[in-house]
């Protein structure tokens, strides 16, 4: 066992829909260690995205705790959660979610600007990251000029830019063709192995499951 990055204790999330209560997550206990390449799998509505949102501090639990590097997320205020996300979590979204008016370089630099990193340093790091995902020659391209796979690689570079403790990737290959998906997974696996970066995926994609070294299966909000 390595050092634990995330410890989840008895986590539950209940949504209210009118008078009915929907148990999105029920009594989840989980530990994720530094350097894991983990896939959270399960059918639609099983709670994968909810769990990822909880870990990323985008949503708050109804009960239970999420502890990231000794910080209990439940104890953080709204603004502290924003800073937590900025400094600890890298997000890769299914729809890439890049800023269309900014270039690849600017998209990657943006989060470092939020961290008040001087622009010279952030620019240098952004170029290095884009080169590491194979986009060194497209740094000045806007998202509309890049393919889906290339956009998702920019998103990975952006997720890495803030030097996060872990990366949460919600269905990162869902919108990609096979070749682009394989290519993206190779890059992420390489980053994981070389730089010991922790990756947590939510996915239906068998290719992701094949690459993952740990699979967490969710069903009806429970780990099975």
């Amino acid at each position: 066992m390595g050092n634990s990055v995330i410890k989840i204790n008895n986590l539950s999330k209940i949504y209210k829909e009118g008078v009915n209560e929907v148990h999105a997550l029920e009594n989840i206990d989980l530990t994720i260690n530094q350097g894991e390449f983990t896939a959270i799998v399960g059918p639609s509505g099983s709670g994968k995205t909810t769990l990822l949102n909880m870990i990323g501090g985008l949503d708050t639990p109804s009960s239970g705790n999420i502890i990231v590097n000794q910080t209990n997320l439940s104890s953080l205020s709204y603004n502290e959660l924003i800073n937590f996300r900025r400094d600890n979590v890298g997000f890769v979204f299914q729809a890439y979610n890049l800023i269309p008016v900014l270039t690849a370089l600017e998209n990657v630099s943006f989060i470092m600007d939020l961290q008040n990193i001087p622009s010279k340093i952030s620019r240098k790091r952004a170029i290095e990251l884009l080169e590491s995902v194979g986009l060194g020659d497209r740094i000045n391209s806007r998202p509309s000029k890049l393919s889906g796979g290339q956009q998702q690689r920019v998103a990975v570079a952006r997720a890495l830019a803030s030097k996060p403790k872990f990366i949460l990737a919600d269905e990162p290959t869902a919108n990609l063709d096979s070749k682009s998906a394989e290519n993206l997974l190779d890059i992420m696996e390489q980053l994981n192995r070389k730089e010991n970066i922790t990756f947590i995926f939510s996915t239906h994609d068998q290719r992701v499951m094949n690459k993952a070294r740990r699979i967490i299966k969710l069903e009806d909000g429970r780990v099975v």
């Binding site: 985008l58 949503d59 924003i82 979204f93 979610n97 008016v101 900014l102 989060i111 622009s119």
Partner: protein, 408 residues
Amino acid sequence: MILLLSWKNIWRNKLRSIIIITSVILGLVAGIFVVGFMNGWVKQKIDSVIEIEIPHLQINSKTFIYQNDIENNFDISILEKKILQSKRVKALSPRIIINTMISSAHKVGGVQVYGIDPVKEKMVSDIYKNITKENGNYFNDNKPYSIVIGAKLAKKYQIKLRSKIVLSMVSIDGIQVSSAFRVCGIYDIGNPPFEESRVFVRDKDLREISSLPINRVHETGIRLIDNEISTLEEAKGFIIPLLNKDNKIRTWKEVNAMMGIYSDYMNIELMVIVSIILLGLGFGIVNTVLMSVMERKSELSMLMAIGMSKKKVLQMIILESTILTSFGGFIGMLLGLIIISTLHNTGMDISKSMSSVGEFGFSTMVYPAITVIQFSFIAFMVILTGILSAIYPSKAAMSINPAEGIRQ
């Protein structure tokens, strides 16, 4: 980076931004033009009033102000020298003012006759500049019993240059007296009510007819070195202690209350006009920025998810709105300034569209102008409009739940 992003966000929908910028430009050009036009119009009227009709300051006996009787006079001899010691005073002209009946071959009516020393009066009032060569002169020939009358009076009474007219009045002794005068000049200042009611003769002639003792006058007009309010107040402050309790000094604003109100409230009125224009534009800007925010809900959610604080979101949207407004504002103000400067030099002839204003003493040639304070106020209001217009869209942006917004 926030500034860069805000700038790029503005140009996502070029047509929409161009429409709103154009609205700001047109609104501001219209606002500046209205401000400049009204300014020029009123300033010209005020300058004309000061230079021709009412001096900067005038001293009367208190009773004369309410009753223009010949006996309500005061001694000017010592006062004149003391007043002229003020550095703010350029010139002074003692005046005898008597209500008289004027008779021409065609008509009889009432006028106020001003007995003046032409040399001193020229230093205080520019009426002499408004006599064309064909209409005579301002007491240039030393013929006694000469009179200068207004163009409107000349027309109404069918009086021509060198015509003889008779003035009848009650002397200081209460005796009805009359004397004939020959018209030596006809002034035309574009203010018919003034032209119809005031005629000018030499003070020594009027003193002779009315038996008013030497050095006794009804009014002293004082011209200052400039039209600044500070000069006016300073000079008034200097003169007040010199007056005896029966005399009163009044500024041109106090003498002509209407012009005083124009002057004091014009700034407020003009600022209200600009504020209303910007308020209207503000609603357009709110709509544009709000649409832009709603279209970017998913993107704003992503930004908030990756760690952009609400403060930065607010900053970004305020910047977008302010840049949008200021961009149009800058062009609008520049265009407005160019138009005002051009018209200030060439003048605007409004005689065809607003010919009736001449009947009220306003010039039909307007020279628009705008003050630095007014221009700065407009610039400030433009920026304020941009900031205030961003509040509602910013609130909408900050209420977005990032977890929900990302998946939209």
